[in-house]
């Protein structure tokens, strides 16, 4: 079964440092999503890509977060500078065309900011 790959699996960083997460979606999936999940809560959408274009980044804290999907395939989410409140699981998901038929999520990157 095809999977969404994410790395690293875990990341510990000091506040004010920069951190980056990588996601490789399922081959052929045009839509890619980044979600943030705080412990005990459901995932919150940060950014949605259609191919290489950002479709929705309304919930992305743009003063410190950035996301790109340069060739419409893999994607990188960056935080600079990291803050203590950024500690969370960062999940990447992909789909053929939106939520109909389901998203496939990766296993996520667990970020701890100290």
């Amino acid at each position: 079964e095809a999977e969404v790959a994410q790395s690293p699996r875990y990341k510990i960083t000091e506040k004010s440092q920069a951190v980056a997460f990588w996601c490789d979606p399922i081959s052929g999936h045009a839509t890619l999503y980044w979600y943030r999940q705080i412990l005990g809560q459901g995932p919150e959408l940060l950014v949605q890509f259609q191919d290489e274009s950002v479709v929705d980044d309304s919930q992305l804290p743009k003063d410190r977060f950035s996301a790109e999907r340069l060739k419409g395939v893999d994607s990188t989410l960056k935080i600079q500078p990291a803050e203590l409140g950024d500690s969370a699981m960062y999940l990447c998901a992909s789909s053929l065309a939106g939520p109909r038929g389901g998203y496939t999520f990766g296993s996520g990157t667990r970020l701890t900011v100290v």
Binding site: V4, Y33, Y35, G40, Q41, G42, P43, E44, L45, Q48, D56, M89, L91, C92, A93, G98, P99, R100, G101, G102, Y103, T104, F105, G106, S107, G108, R110
Partner: protein, 112 residues
């Protein structure tokens, strides 16, 4: 975007059938209902999706009454490995509804 309401937690025993009901009173005509399962330290996993009446797959069944203001996820004969958080979501196919917005889900705990 229709808001969903589901129980915070449920307990069950192995071998029992579990039904998790979700209310979505403001569901729009073009909205679909979908359910995801999430284990600790993993991403959510798609379970089932439907528009009306009943949908069944190898994992679960989804019952949607005619008014579509609620839906019920049915898990037959649960096992310990079904302990997870279950999310009920509603989405449309266009515009701002064409994405998944998660709530806090239902924590299902299955015991021996």
């Amino acid at each position: 975007l229709a808001k969903t309401t589901q129980p915070i937690s449920m307990d069950s025993y192995e071998g029992q059938e579990v039904n998790i009901t979700c209310s979505h009173n403001n569901i729009a005509t073009n909205d679909y209902i979908t359910w995801y399962q999430q284990f600790p330290s993993q991403g959510p996993r798609f379970i089932i999706q439907g528009y009306k009446t009943k949908v069944t797959n190898e994992v679960a069944s989804l019952f949607i009454p005619a008014d579509r203001k609620s839906s019920t996820l049915s898990l037959p004969r649960v096992s310990l490995s079904d302990t997870a958080v279950y999310y009920c979501l509603v989405f449309g196919l266009t515009g701002g509804g064409n994405k998944l917005t998660f709530g806090t889900g239902t924590q299902l705990k299955v015991e021996l």
